[in-house]
């Protein structure tokens, strides 16, 4: 059906996104380095306001005012630095090279046009010569997601359920054969069964089409199911990044540890789930210096007040924490076992 070229690599370097507020420009994403390995699914988790969605929009150079990308680069193989794209070039890259499944994709469709007509608008916008083939591809994709393609294309948004609209959103992101796909909260506001279906579809289509995928979510359970690697964001920083099983199985950053402790288990005592104390910082309450997480951290040290922990890479994992660093050093010196 499609030509399977190699999946591209995405390199986010030193990305800083600021939002204009009455108190000046405040960073929602600060100095983020993140590499999406070709052909993998990277999950990004974090609380509301941690900068996840802003990060996702940056991949399309689509940060909305009053936000502004202040520094950094987003290199995508075969496309170059997205942040230097502008005008028509940027428009063509969106949809064609980078597919985006919108947060609350239930509302991502024009209520006055059938899905089919919106598909044709998409095709014409990207100069698709063979619109019949485009419709055929769309029907195939919809069928893969368990829907009657012809019927869906002939429907208006209000004639579809939330899960169906979500799948239509995924179809529109994939139908032009984008090799990089960004999914912003793809399963939020869906019931458990639909969530499981959508996650399975993401995984399947990802493997079938050899994509490089970024999944943004606040649902650690969802990300554990689909992602190969996991990045944890807090206060606009990536505080930990590594293979998903290792990050979840052996978290090094106290914030990741807290997140995992907060997940209620299906079996066992519910009271074992412990919420992180305190609140996530907002743009206005982000500390100006030192570690962004220190206010809520149980392993806070003196150095955390003054020095921003630098990301440290060790055996394929990245952690930005003074305590985790120390812990590791101690382990290595066998003073702490």
């Amino acid at each position: 059906m499609t030509v399977h070229t190699a999946a591209p690599e995405v390199r986010i370097r030193d990305l800083t996104v600021v939002y204009k507020t009455p108190a000046g420009e405040l960073p929602a994403v600060r100095g983020v380095d993140l590499t999406l390995a070709p052909g993998t699914i990277t999950g990004v988790v974090g609380e509301s306001g941690s900068g996840k969605s802003t990060l996702a929009l940056s991949l399309l150079n689509a940060v909305q005012p009053p936000g502004r990308i202040a520094a950094g680069s987003v290199e995508i193989d075969g496309l170059g630095d997205v942040l230097t794209l502008w005008g028509e070039d940027l428009r063509r890259a969106r949809g064609r090279q980078v597919g985006y499944v919108f947060q609350a994709a239930q509302n991502s469709l024009n209520p006055l046009k059938t899905i089919g007509k919106q598909l044709l608008d998409l095709g014409r916008s990207h100069d698709v010569a063979d619109l019949r083939a485009l419709v055929r591809d769309a029907k195939d994709l919809l069928a893969r997601m368990g829907m009657d393609g012809a019927r869906v294309l002939d429907s208006y948004q209000h004639e579809l359920s939330g899960g169906m609209r979500q799948r239509v959103g995924i179809m529109l992101a994939l139908v032009l054969n984008a090799k990089v796909v960004v999914l912003d909260e793809p399963t939020t506001a869906l019931d458990m069964i639909t969530q499981a279906t959508i996650l399975r579809i993401i995984r399947e289509v990802h493997e079938e089409r050899a994509l490089t995928t970024l999944v943004i979510t606040h649902d650690v359970g969802a990300v554990a199911e689909v992602a190969d690697s996991l990045a944890v964001m807090y206060g606009g920083r990536v505080v930990e990044h590594g293979p998903v099983t290792e990050v979840l199985g052996n978290a090094r950053h106290p914030y990741t540890q807290g997140l995992i402790r907060a997940i209620p288990r299906l079996s066992g005592d519910l009271s074992l789930a412990r919420a992180l104390p305190g609140r996530p910082p907002t743009l206005g309450t982000l500390p100006g210096q030192g570690c962004v997480f220190r206010e809520r951290c149980e392993r806070r040290m003196e150095v955390c007040e003054t020095d921003d922990p630098l990301p440290v890479n060790r055996d394929g994992r990245m952690v930005a924490c003074h305590a985790a660093d120390r812990h590791l050093t101690l382990v290595e010196r066998k003073e702490f076992v």
Binding site: G95, R96, F102, S108, L109, L112, L122, S125, R151, S155
Partner: protein, 344 residues
């Protein structure tokens, strides 16, 4: 209804819908006709009986007076209320609205027919022009809302919206008919032309219509631009517009998505204002001396011409009811969410 088969309107459903509207519309017209009958019959000083009695005082026989009054009002002044009501409704069915008092002997329908011509031309043209202008400028005001152009447009809307139509009208005549007389100061057409489809007559019609149309356009433009601006701003904040941009849709498509969604609520208002048009525009007709429906209504009130008054009210009612029906049906064409029965 979420999982129902995508609903295209079937012929039967459409017929049912139109039928339902017609029945409701007729019921509405009947209610207004009844109320206007009761008012004319029960108004202090009872104009019908007053007319009847004054005719007797002038020396007519009661039978003659009764017939003369019946011709005027469409129903017998004597007899019980029920008989009068049946008589009135009967003549209504024959489109007989009675005869005018102030223009003796002329049928109300004839007067209304003549006046309607002079109303429909300037008011309809003004309504459509102001709608087109206001909607277009509203879109720009919304898109450029953080710039100077947007500010200026929105301000023009607020200012014009706040100025009463008669002030605009008087300014227009003062400037373009008195200070710089390039336009006729009033009247619908120059008398020297033979009415008909000839260049002189039509040219004169248009020449005379310019000031009233411009006045009406300026007076209603403010409302449209402000309404359209706020609609566009609301739709701009909708997720599907950002989603369309993130899918790389051409600006033209995004703009159409935006405009069509924003203009939707305005269509109802447009249809209703076209219905209101049969009420005429009293100030504009007065200032520019257009013998339209608004002026007719004012004159009928000041001369206590109750038959004409009742007839004019009825025409306004029918206009609004019909416009409502058209607005409703139009909505089912332009908004698919209404078409399938309003689910989701």
């Amino acid at each position: 209804m979420t999982h129902a088969v995508p609903g295209r309107p079937r012929l039967g459903a459409v017929a049912r819908r139109v039928g339902g509207h017609l029945v409701r519309g007729l019921a509405m017209i009947w209610v207004v006709a009844t109320i206007s009958f009761v008012i004319i019959r029960e108004i202090p000083g009872n104009p019908v009986m007053g007319q009847y009695e004054s005719l007797i005082q002038k020396g007519m026989s009661p039978e003659q007076a009764e017939r003369a009054t019946a011709v005027l009002y469409g129903f017998m002044p004597t007899g019980n209320l029920w008989q009068q009501y049946v008589g009135y409704m009967g003549s209504l069915l024959h489109l007989d609205l009675g005869r005018s008092l102030s223009t003796p002997g002329v049928e109300v329908t004839t007067l209304i027919g003549h006046a309607a011509r002079w109303t429909v031309l300037p008011v309809l043209a003004g309504t459509l022009l102001s709608f087109l202008l206001g909607v277009t400028m509203g879109v720009y005001a919304a898109i450029k809302r953080s710039g100077k152009l947007g500010d200026a447009l929105a301000l023009s809307g607020s200012l014009l919206h706040g100025v009463p139509v008669y002030v605009i009208g008087l300014l227009m005549t003062a400037i373009f008919a008195t200070l710089w007389p390039i336009m006729p100061s009033g009247g619908p057409v120059d008398v020297e032309f033979v009415p008909g489809f000839n260049a002189g007559y039509i040219g004169s019609l248009i020449h005379h219509a310019v000031l009233p149309v411009v006045t009406y356009t300026l007076a209603s433009y403010g409302g449209w631009i402000l309404a359209m601006k706020s609609n566009v701003v609301a739709v701009l904040g909708d997720d599907f517009i950002l989603a369309a941009e993130l899918r790389g849709l051409r600006r033209g498509f995004v703009f159409r998505y935006l405009a069509r969604n924003a203009i939707l609520p305005l269509f109802t208002i447009l249809a209703l204002s076209i219905g209101m048009l049969f009420g005429g525009s009293i100030f504009i007709e007065e200032i520019f001396n257009y013998p339209g429906l608004g002026l007719l209504l004012v004159n009928s009130i000041s001369s206590r011409d109750y038959a004409l008054m009742g007839g004019t009210f009825l025409v306004i009612t029918v206009g609004i009811v019909v416009a409502n029906i058209i607005a409703d049906l139009l909505y089912t064409v332009i908004d698919p969410r209404v078409r399938s029965g309003g689910a989701a």
